[in-house]
Assembly symmetry: C2
Homo-oligomer: 221 residues x 2
Amino acid sequence: MSISAKPTASPSSDTTASAHDRVYRALRARIMYGDIAPGEALTLRGIGREFGVSMTPARESLRRLVAEGALSLSSSGRVTTPELSNERIEELAALRALLEVELSSRALPRAHMALIDRLHSINVTIAEMVSKRDAVGYIRTNLEFHRTLYLRAQAPAMLAMAETVWLQLGPTMRALYGRLRRTDPPQNHRLIIAALKAGDEPGLRLAVRSDVTQGLRLLVV
Amino acid sequence: MSISAKPTASPSSDTTASAHDRVYRALRARIMYGDIAPGEALTLRGIGREFGVSMTPARESLRRLVAEGALSLSSSGRVTTPELSNERIEELAALRALLEVELSSRALPRAHMALIDRLHSINVTIAEMVSKRDAVGYIRTNLEFHRTLYLRAQAPAMLAMAETVWLQLGPTMRALYGRLRRTDPPQNHRLIIAALKAGDEPGLRLAVRSDVTQGLRLLVV
DNA sequence: AGGGTGGGTTTGTGATCACAGCATAGGCCA
DNA sequence: TGGCCTATGCTGTGATCACAAACCCACCCT
């Protein structure tokens, strides 16, 4: 039975031996980076078959993702990726603004030149993803930009909450970036970097708020 | 085997037939309202025995609580209620301030007289709990005060995040209210109600922030 | 007497199975 | 020909079991 293992997931990050954790990480990345469309259904046996595990670890990883709001659970127990209402999207955008403005503000006094260089280089990668029309790559790199900045805030609980919001917005973000077709240079990211260099806290808060809010605004139909 | 069911949990809210959900709800309430001390260990078979279920639902509810940050998972898989560091407590307090100030601000334009009456009556119950030295009852009623207000904000995702923070602080809050021995009338709650009546948004924000922050400040050793 | 080490016990992990609910697709009847 | 109804598969739920690792405590060696 163990021959049927089909590791179609990413071959990286196999340091943990735990089966449910491996499944969880793979699914989480898929959802957060928009690899799954809203409304898609996931079945226990299907997940188990794909990752070569039994129903038990599949169920654990699915329920963990449900607990984090990444998947929604119907009354009959069926698990699907959620289709967010406009009110929910606006709320999550407000949450992003609230949390990420605070995180960036806390990161500001700790932002050295090495961090700014790193952010700049991530920005270059984002531009590449945009020109390649790679939606998933764009989302992943964009979030990496934010995570790199917020890691300096030394606020793990707050960062975890922000990532939970990203996770909830994942499937919807794909729909967004699949829709917008203009080659959008990360203008707000440049404003963020400039404010970091200048030590300008109000400017930084404004830039982060704009960056977080403007993309989601297009999504509200 | 099913005879060993000992429903020591609350007899209410048994509308759901799902076993793991029943266990989850009971444990969540215990943790959030400070019924379990920090550092206590929970075992799968122990939970199962107590609720008269097998290991499967016990495991699901425990892992869900771990996913929500209510319990911490050691490297060997043992589940305990977390002992929070001072930095973590300060971070969670900041998170409470951030989220709950926003929630109260959104609830303000929707706050009618009926809500204010209800808040006042909850406040009376809080005073009773204080005089009875009932720590768990105090925490539960205090959170009910906040939840009642925030429900008017019509922001379910934001409220869910706030409740997650309460959950993480639960075991620690018990340690706090077990320590403070003064009969503390809910002064800040009266300020909140006054600001609601007057439609005074800056005052409301300040009162909520004070109420949320001051209690946790005592806790930082 | 103290510290390391052995075994017995307890723990989480994952697989498998029986079962009940549901959804769908096909057939059946008017 | 159209609408209803049943049957079959597929789904999640929960119980049980085998197994390996961790833990604990007593015992033994130095």
